[in-house]
């Protein structure tokens, strides 16, 4: 299990963006969820925690997790 958190504190239970490599075998799993898109922006998981994400994925180092940043 390799989740790579980019620029975030994974302890914060907050909406995150999951970026998934196109070639990963997990693509179908995440696309099957009600999240939009093809290659990368695969999910916006409300209230996601690390544990929830780990439930979604298996062995991969291609899972990038980012917070939604909206400030200006």
């Amino acid at each position: 299990m390799k989740l790579r958190y980019i620029g975030i504190n994974p302890e914060l239970p907050k909406e995150v963006i999951v970026l998934l490599n196109e070639d990963t075998v997990l693509k179908d799993v995440l696309i099957a969820t009600p999240f939009n898109s093809i290659k990368k922006q695969l999910s916006f998981l409300s209230g996601t925690t690390k544990i929830t994400l780990e439930d979604l994925v298996s062995d991969s180092d291609d899972i990038l997790v980012l917070h939604v940043l909206g400030g200006g």
Binding site: I6, G7, L69, G70
Partner: protein, 224 residues
């Protein structure tokens, strides 16, 4: 050209003259926008069009470039125009104390680049659509706490649709706030990308997202 003497070597005299002929639209005159607008003016971009429907309030004083105690309650767009005229009277500044929307196409039709400095995700996605219709690049950044991100969206790239949900208005900034240093840094990155766009220098942030973590100094570029 003495004003721009320290630009030289980085920006040639020819390119400096080119910048004078360019128009940039900056949407939002707050945390990101205030710094972007100032840097564009000092850089010598010939025409800056800015939009903000808001007035300055006390909570802006921690980070917004043109917020001072004596302008609380005053229009951000109007104050920005006044201040820019003091910084560089050789450029044209047009400011609108209103929101930019798709009905404003005529006001921005001559833009060479649009800068996203807003604080609502739906507005960012609207700007992407507007830039596509105008067929100009959009430079986009956002911030929250110690974190920021920036990307450059060319027409039809639709990069923001890959990184923002359509049903959420705000992100983690609602919990982390926005300190002084994050908007200043991300605004500088945006201005550098604006400069590349205007001078036809390829941007490394097209189809890529720069994610900045100032807490641990991680600077990550993610292919999108």
């Amino acid at each position: 050209m003495e004003r721009y003497l320290r630009n030289q070597s980085t920006i040639s005299i020819e390119n400096q003259k080119l910048l004078k002929q360019k128009t940039v639209v900056v949407v939002g005159c707050g945390g990101l926008g205030g710094h972007v607008i100032e840097q564009c003016a000092r850089l010598g971009i010939g025409r800056i069009i800015c939009y903000d429907s808001d007035v300055f309030d006390t909570s802006n004083l921690n980070r917004q470039r043109f917020s001072t105690e004596d302008v609380i309650g005053k229009s951000k767009a109007e104050i920005v125009k006044e201040e820019l005229n003091r910084i560089n009277s050789e450029i044209e500044v047009i400011s609108y104390s209103k929101r930019l929307d798709l009905d404003c196409m005529d006001e921005v039709k001559d833009a060479h680049c649009i800068v996203d400095a807003v604080d609502r995700i739906s507005t960012r996605l609207m700007l992407q659509q507007l830039a596509k219709q105008l067929n100009v690049p959009l430079v986009s950044a956002s911030i929250a706490g110690w974190y920021g991100q920036c990307t450059v969206v060319y027409p039809h790239d639709d990069t923001l649709s890959k990184i923002y949900p359509s049903d959420v208005e705000q992100g983690i900034e609602t919990e982390l706030g926005n300190p002084s240093f994050t908007p200043a840094l991300l605004a500088a990155i945006e201005t550098a990308e604006v400069t590349k766009v205007l001078l036809n220098i390829p941007s490394d942030l097209r189809h890529q997202l720069l994610v900045v973590n100032l807490l641990h100094h991680e600077y990550t570029v993610i292919r999108l």
